[in-house]
Symmetry: C2
Subunit: 299 residues, 2 copies
């Protein structure tokens, strides 16, 4: 009863205060709620500088186990072999994906890449580490349940769990047979979440910096957004795991823990915008309309 | 009983045939299922040619009554006054919107624009024309019900109905007070559907051609994606209602009727992809993951 009374007081106090915008909640989150992203989990892709000479660096956080471990291992192998140096972005399809790899399809792959079966696209729910999840109360058209784990948007049918194709998520291109994706061809989502790809392609990461260098590229005019003329391709200077870069060049990033109280408040505020601009709070939220906050580390 | 038997036969035949991709269903839709978009409902925005001299034309279909009629009337007034000629795209925020209007904020508006209250953001359900709707069986995080009417994605709480902020939808920028949007500042959605804006801003149309000229623009680096330097703004050469253009310059477009059987099949196929690439059909669909097919008229 006392707990319930306290809860009521808390609700009363909250409703008497001016509503916080989601960005205010993120800005006010204590330092302890931010999680540093290890350099060893960051893939750093430097495109050739733009026409104006400006550097274009894209940083991708790789997914942790139990998600896509074999594809992620292949990506580490490819980066260590400098395999993408001189490769290119060769497909940009509007409201869908930007994709990169070897446009010739002829460059030999490192010998030690693993073949990965489609069974890797999902993992048993009990393989997830036990973490406090903000309770997700809104329905989803694609899955029984959606949730976040360690910064990653996930969906589940109750038994299995899988990453979802939100904006900025990075996946493994493949041919028709589901085990044909090595990790050498990667894509990033640049439009409305193509959730029909969930459980049909391996997701391996998400863009945490430099997303606009992918999303603002000219769209290809050939079928599926491929660049018609090889001269339109966007050359990749180098791709490295950040820990292989000199310390001063390693991105120092952190994300707001998705099991922290501030994240739960951020989600609730995004679902019920009452800050000054809003007339009618939505009362709901799509998991892909919740960008997980990422920022440069302050230490 | 006989109907039920026929239905079972139909299901059996359908499952014995190879699954059609959504694009095949659209390509096979009979001519009678396509609806011509009147030139009087198209807003044609020509940007100044790109650095390579190429034309950049964006075509926006304006919403029909009962949606946002006063804002749409204002937009017609602004176009007739050539008000946007010499205006510019001055804000491009990644995964959100591209916005245009008068960057100086000082250009006088035509005298006969109407003030529009927030009550125009929604309309009573019974104001919709009676049209056959494909039954939408998948849940939505933001509304009790989602549906299509005459090519437009809509949501409803059972009493009211309102357009939703899918990719490519065009809305009316405004200040904090809900009645401050005249129609002179417009934006198009270029990322994940910002559905929290539904019922909070007037939607007035959707981009039906040239979307990539908006979505691939460089993102602004000032707050909210505004271009920091006026030199980064993208100048608008002219904006006209298509019927005011010479006949040969009028876009001739048509969309797949959202009350036609082919559209229902297209939706069903998108929700249950079984064409050759797919391993696990989604079994569901988000309304903003259903681009309404638009093409150049064939007559």
């Amino acid at each position: 009863m006392f707990m319930r009374f306290l809860a009521l007081v808390a609700v009363f106090v909250a409703s008497a205060l001016p509503a916080q915008a989601p960005s205010d909640i993120v800005a006010g989150a204590p330092a302890a709620e931010w999680v540093a992203i290890p350099a060893d989990d960051l893939l750093v892709m430097d495109l050739k500088p733009a026409a104006d000479g400006k550097a274009r660096r894209i940083v991708i956080e790789l997914m942790p186990a139990p998600f896509s471990p074999r594809h992620v291992a292949n990506i580490r192998t490819l980066a260590a072999a400098h395999w993408w140096d001189g490769a290119a972005i060769n497909r940009v399809q509007d409201n869908y994906v930007a994709q990169w790899g070897d446009p010739t399809g002829k460059k030999p792959l490192p010998a030690n890449l693993r073949a990965v079966p489609a069974s890797d696209y999902v993992v048993p729910f009990q393989a997830l580490p036990t973490v406090a999840q903000p309770r997700w109360v809104w329905p989803d058209a694609y899955a029984k349940k959606v949730l976040f784990d360690r910064g990653w948007p996930l969906a589940s049918d109750g038994r299995s769990v899988w990453p979802v194709h939100c904006y900025g998520m990075v996946g493994v291109g493949r041919d028709l047979a589901p085990d044909t994706g090595s990790g050498a061809e990667l894509y990033a989502v640049i439009g409305q979440a193509p959730r029909h790809l969930d459980r049909n392609i391996a997701l391996v990461g998400r863009v945490v910096e430099g997303m606009d260098y992918l999303s603002s590229l000219p769209r290809g005019t050939a079928e599926m957004g491929f660049y018609r003329d090889p001269g339109e391709q966007v050359p990749i200077a180098s791709v490295r795991i950040a820990s292989a870069l000199p310390a001063a060049q390693q991105p120092r990033l952190e994300y707001l823990s998705t099991s922290a109280p501030s994240f739960a408040r951020y989600v609730t505020a995004r679902a019920n915008r009452k800050d000054s601009f809003f007339v009618t709070p939505a009362g709901g939220l799509d998991i892909c309309n919740v960008p997980v906050p990422v920022r440069v580390r302050k230490d």
